[in-house]
């Protein structure tokens, strides 16, 4: 078995008396889609914040390709190849979709201390940006102002911005958030395109999407990982069913 790309060891985060992340350990293998599921309040949002440099952990370690990244700030994480998308859409609303993705490209395409040449005419930025937009199916919407895109399209833009940074691993925070059935199916197709070429840690509520995409699933309950395994194993796991899937299956039926 290959060396895991991301290793989380004994991660802890407390908010006063509440332990949001409770000695959490899990790993992500290179090239896999590893989904994290769990009921509301399980600590998924806290975990993402800890992994993406927005929240300082109280204890534990996070290793990325052997390197300790536990306390690195958000921009440093992006530079070493860990890209994230946001659960609540976080884009540049006044810029076009293409501008949005071009900024993502620019962050990793050499120096931004250039003061004269027009960035919008820089093909080093625009070409990869167009490509990323095309990969998520927004090719035709490149020149639309991001704030004018539909919700689903904005979620697609989120993904495009994440992959445009040329990451080694994607941290996707509920990419399906707020999407209806058809849009979700489309997003699953988009994400399936990245399977294999990108390592993905996927936080999601949408069970159809999770079972369609994940190579392995970890279940988070009260800040701890209670089970990790292949989708079928998880589906069959009694503890998991009780804690989580039982309710979800009823909703989806």
């Amino acid at each position: 078995m290959a060396e895991p790309l991301l290793v989380i060891e004994g991660l802890i985060k407390r908010f006063g008396g509440l332990v949001a992340t409770d000695n959490l350990s899990l790993d992500v293998l290179p090239g896999e889609v590893h989904a994290i599921i769990g009921p509301n309040g399980a600590g998924k949002t806290t975990l993402i914040a800890q992994l993406s440099g927005e929240l300082k952990s109280d204890a534990g370690r996070v290793l990325f390709d052997g390197q300790d990244i536990t306390d690195l700030p958000a921009h440093a994480l992006s530079m070493i190849g860990l890209a994230r998308s946001f659960q609540v859409t976080s884009i540049f609303r006044d810029f076009t979709a293409l501008d949005n993705v071009a900024l993502a490209v620019q962050a990793h395409a050499g120096s931004s201390f250039r003061f004269w040449s027009a960035a919008r005419k820089d093909r080093v930025l625009r070409d990869p940006a167009r490509e990323a937009l095309a990969r998520v199916g927004l090719g035709a919407r490149a020149d639309v102002i991001a704030g004018d895109l539909s919700h689903g399209e904005q979620r697609q833009l989120e993904i495009a911005m994440a992959i445009a940074t040329g990451p080694r691993m994607l941290l996707l925070d509920e990419p399906m958030a707020g999407m209806g059935g058809e849009e979700s199916a489309r997003m699953v197709d988009i994400l399936r395109e990245f399977k294999g070429s990108h390592t993905i840690l996927l936080i999601e509520h949408d069970m159809d999407a999770v079972f369609a995409l994940a190579d392995r699933i970890s279940v988070l309950v009260y800040g701890r990982c209670i089970a990790t395994g292949k989708p079928d194993e998880i589906r069959a796991n009694e503890e998991v069913r009780q804690a989580y899937l039982g309710e979800e299956e009823a909703v989806h039926a």
Binding site: S52, G53, P73, A74, H75, A76, S78, M79, A83, R84, F86, S90, I91, F92, R93, D94, F95, T96, D99, A102, L103, A104, Q106, A107, H108, S111, S112, F113, R114, F115, W116, S117, A118, A119, R120, D122, L125, I145, M161, T165
Partner: protein, 315 residues
């Protein structure tokens, strides 16, 4: 043939009008207006520099007038010690503004929102107090200064030469900032203004970009200060009071922030209105004050925003 953007037409027309002021005023024998428009241009540069960090960067600095003082005092202090070389004057103005902006920015940019506003205001006041305390350079009364000497290249003693000297800086800075806000650096600043959290997640160490923008703005305003000193031949600490910073903010907002040329219009309207109203009544502030309030409440995009654009996209 490309259809002309109405806004570009306005800008070119305005610049043309400004360029024609000396011959016209010379013919009409109205030297007063020559100086008035020169003042307008100096403050247009100051407002322009503020727009970079305010309109494009979202940094509400209430201490920008400090750099007018730094630039002015660079000229005045060197003159005081009988150093008249123009290159030294402007060189020191630039370096001093950059250094001060760097220090102020490095501290202030650790805060945001109203704290940022207050701390920039505080630093401005600090410099004002420093100015009035130093008797050697005139203290409260201010200090006279001779003009910058550029030898045989330029005679800034000639009103028309000085006018075009200032005009050259205005036009040059306008063009420079136009390129800057559309460059990679400009995109980063605008991105930070739009969504700083996202910028960090993309991999930008946002602090250093904000600081550099802050320094650039300070330097440009410092140059304006040096130009002002040449124009009025007098520098006083009151140019660094927070009320002056407020006035520059008003000019930017009035003209339309985030547009570069808007602040130029704003400076012109502000100063010309001031002249006009002051001629009408001694108590013109009674009109101007409420006018300002109404302007803020209702004219969100300023005067420049009233001019139609050709297409939907803003450049």
């Amino acid at each position: 043939m490309r259809s002309l953007n109405p806004r570009v037409v306005v800008i070119l027309a305005a610049l043309l009008l400004l360029a024609l002021v000396p011959p016209v005023m010379g013919a009409l024998n109205q030297p007063f207006y020559l100086e008035l428009f020169a003042r307008v241009m100096v403050f247009a540069i100051a407002a322009l520099s503020l727009d970079l960090i305010l309109g494009y960067g979202g940094m509400v600095s209430f201490g920008h007038a400090a750099y007018l003082g730094i630039g002015g005092y660079a000229v005045a202090i060197l003159s005081h010690y009988d150093i008249g070389n123009g290159f030294l004057h402007f060189g020191v103005a630039i370096v001093a503004s950059a250094a001060v902006a760097f220090v102020i920015g490095a501290i202030s940019l650790r805060t945001s929102g109203v704290y940022f506003i207050m701390i920039t205001l505080a630093f401005c006041q600090m410099l004002y107090f420093l100015g009035i305390s130093i008797e050697e350079f005139g203290g409260d009364d201010g200090i006279n200064t001779s003009r910058s000497d550029f030898g045989s290249l330029l005679d800034l003693g000639d009103a028309t030469t000085l006018y075009y000297f200032i005009f050259a800086f205005l036009a040059g800075f306008l063009y420079f900032l136009h390129r800057l806000v559309n460059s990679r650096f400009g995109m980063v600043i605008r991105g930070i203004n739009s969504n700083e959290r996202r910028m960090k997640a993309l991999g930008f160490a946002t602090f250093r970009y904000k600081l550099l923008a802050f320094v650039i703005a300070g330097v440009l305003c410092g140059v304006a200060g040096a130009l002002l000193a040449n124009l009025t031949q007098f520098v006083t600490p009151t140019i660094m009071r927070w009320e002056r910073s407020g006035e520059i903010l008003v000019m930017v907002l009035m003209g339309g922030m985030g547009s570069l040329f808007g602040p130029v219009l704003g400076a012109a309207v502000f100063l010309l209105l001031e002249e006009y109203l002051a001629a009408l009544t001694e108590h013109w502030m009674v009109i101007f004050g409420p006018f300002l309030v109404i302007l803020v409440l209702f004219a969100r995009r300023g005067i420049y925003g009233l001019i139609p654009e050709r297409s939907g996209r803003n450049g």
